[in-house]
């Protein structure tokens, strides 16, 4: 058993840290958070350095690393700034589906621009009238007419909806089959395809630099070429996809927690009350020590889940534990960071209130915490 990052992995973390130290300026985050805009320039800069294509293979311009290295990058991005970090690390959301299940032509078309940072992608599962937690039945349908598939329906809460150059969408291709998830198929749809309409959702609580939107498919016509993987395998691909990307969400949570903790720790050494730095008041000091412990535990769970996947031993229970625990720790830590800064913590300029608002999403998207607990329970019951 080894609990150390390799020299190379430490180098990766440091590279991201240095980039963020200079580029992730608080003013930018505050402005984009207010305007609800994606940090396109930073995304492109990060992509040029390889930070957004860690697990894509060299042949498509990626870096050829695993999920663990990907998580190290995500963690550092989100530590440096929760809002900019999430946005930059989600710019290629959904592209993994093309990487894993796409055919050669699809990979060649979409992956190199994704790795270069020229493309943004999206993945659309959630629908307004169907619980996002339960994607076993889709109201969005793809129906075959001759050589064409006509897609109809609405997806909501789609990350990058309005800025994506392409998106992968989960549809119901067989409406009669039972169970219904055996009739779901993934399609890749290009931006600008006739009948595809996206609108931005406003006033999110957090991750406001990450664009979220609604996507309407009104007789969007595609062909067999656009099917990702095999027909009617979409549900399985999606579940497997989330088993991996969820570790990335855990890494977002660990990064946010770490970032907020560092702000709070530093502040607590400087701010004095009743004649001593507030960290010397045990209510503050011990809590910060407890949170540091929890963050470390969350980090280890996250790294382990990523390591298992890289080792070809994917364990959905480990993934679910990591995401659920890390996101809870992120909520607790960012909350206490505000508390540590007192009134200043409540002001945007001091950053931690934003970390707190941003952290909340990690308990919701890519499987809510309740669903993660159900997953853990399912596997526990199988084991014991």
């Amino acid at each position: 058993m080894k609990f150390e990052l390799t020299e190379e992995q430490i180098g990766i973390k440091n590279a991201v840290k240095e980039f963020c130290d200079k580029e992730f300026k608080t003013e930018i985050a505050l402005e984009l958070d207010k305007k609800e805009e994606f940090p396109m320039e930073l995304y492109k800069k990060a992509a040029k350095l390889g930070f957004t294509s860690m697990f894509f293979p060299h042949e498509y311009g990626g870096q050829g690393y695993g999920l663990l290295e990907t998580c190290l990058v995500i963690e550092e991005l989100c530590r440096a700034d929760s809002s900019l970090g999430v946005a930059v690390s989600s710019g290629n959301f959904g592209s993994e589906l093309i990487l894993v299940h796409g055919n050669k032509e699809q990979k060649e078309k979409y992956l190199p621009p994704i790795c270069r940072g020229d493309f943004i992608s999206a993945a659309a599962f959630t629908e307004p009238n169907v619980s996002g937690s339960d994607i076993t039945r889709m109201e969005t349908t793809a129906t075959k007419y001759g050589n064409e598939w006509w897609i109809n329906g609405t997806k909501t809460f789609i990350t990058n909806a309005t800025i994506a150059d392409f998106m992968v969408v989960l549809t119901q291709t067989d409406t009669k089959i039972r169970p219904t998830y055996r009739g779901e198929t993934l399609f890749v749809v290009d931006k600008g395809t006739h009948g595809l309409e996206t609108t931005k959702l406003h006033n999110k609580m957090g991750i406001r630099c990450s664009v979220t939107g609604e996507v309407r498919f009104d007789n969007v016509k595609v062909t067999d070429w656009n099917i990702v993987g095999e027909l009617n395998r979409g549900f399985y691909y999606s579940m497997e996809f989330f088993d991996k990307t969820r570790v990335g969400v855990a890494a977002q949570a660990v990064g946010m927690a770490q970032g907020a903790w560092e702000i709070a720790f530093k502040y607590s050494k400087q701010r004095e009350a009743f004649g001593q730095p507030i960290i010397q008041h045990e209510a503050i000091g011990c809590m910060l020590s407890e949170l540091a412990t929890k963050i470390e535990a969350a980090r280890l769970l996250t790294y382990k889940a990523a390591w298992l996947i890289d080792a070809g031993k994917m364990d959905p229970m480990a993934t679910a534990m990591a995401k659920q625990y890390a996101s809870r720790v992120a909520m607790e830590t960012t909350d206490f960071a505000i508390q540590t800064l007192g009134g200043y913590g409540y002001l945007g300029e001091y950053r931690v209130e934003r970390y707190h608002r941003d952290a909340k999403i990690t308990e919701i998207y890519e499987g809510t915490s309740e669903i993660q607990k159900l997953t853990v329970l399912k596997y526990l019951l199988r084991k014991f």
Partner: protein
């Protein structure tokens, strides 16, 4: 152009709380973060830019402990081709002169057109390793260099002087330039760079590889010995200026002028 860059790993001290260790001669290293010396960062970048423009090689070389590898890897990741680490327990306690001798012992056996160093190191700030090394090698040098233009067998460099002045010199190559910050904008380390760096070798050399003997390095080979390290006492010298805002402003200007600050 074959360029050698001398680099040093130093603690980041801008925000750290420094403590002096029990010996009273060194700072406590635990808890400090180490990184490439800021000035060397610019020197390395300048070297890589020269290589990209004129071809040739860049070799990064350091005298330091094993963990200086992370600084060398960073140099390799940013475009250096080779790295050499000079490590030996006997090197400990070397002052600038002894350090220059160690560097000299290796560099004299290598081909180079140019040697770049940082103008100073962020930890001891002595700013003489570069010039001493140049003297030992018998090559011309310029320090506080803010701009380098390379020509046939010569270079034209701008040196930073006091009071915002710059001096322009023509220097015969091979030469050594001690680089000032701001000469360029160092690039970020990329993931592609890291991968390449991991495939390159860091050559480790010990005292026995340098041809020097024990008495020439470390404390015994040094001209300077640190007697004591201490935090300067905080002085409280405050002068309250009185008068109307105009009068106060005039006095402030006078004071600043008299100290040569404006």
């Amino acid at each position: 152009m074959d360029v050698i860059v001398c680099v040093k790993q130093v603690p980041e001290t801008a925000e750290a709380e420094l403590k002096i260790d029990a010996s009273g001669k060194k700072i406590e290293k635990t808890g400090l973060v180490f990184d490439i010396n800021e000035w060397d960062d610019y020197a390395l970048e300048e070297a890589v830019r020269i290589k990209e423009k004129f071809g040739g090689t860049v070799t990064a070389i350091t005298v330091g402990p094993e963990d200086s590898d992370s600084t060398l890897r960073k140099c390799l990741a940013r475009g250096a081709d080779k790295a050499i680490r000079l490590t030996d327990p006997k090197f400990e306690g070397s002052d600038a002169f002894a350090t220059a001798k160690i560097l000299h012992s290796v560099i004299k056996t290598m081909h180079f057109d140019l040697i770049l160093t940082g103008a100073q190191a962020g930890d001891d700030g002595s700013a003489v390793v570069g010039p001493v090394l140049a003297e030992l090698l018998g090559v011309p040098h310029a320090a506080m260099v803010k701009k380098i233009e390379l020509g046939e067998g010569k270079a034209v460099v701008n040196r930073e002087l006091e009071g915002g002045l710059e001096e322009r010199l023509e220097v015969k190559l091979p030469a050594l330039f001690a680089v000032q910050t701001g000469i360029n904008e160092p690039r970020y380390v990329s993931i592609m760079g890291i991968r390449k760096a991991m495939q390159k070798e860091i050559k480790v050399m010990r005292l026995s590889d340098t041809g020097l003997n024990e008495s020439e390095v470390g404390e015994s080979g040094s001209w300077l010995k640190i007697e004591k390290l201490y935090v300067p006492p905080v002085e409280k010298q405050a002068e309250f200026l009185q008068g109307s805002p105009d009068e106060i402003a005039t006095k402030i200007v006078e004071i600043l002028k008299s100290r040569g600050l404006i």
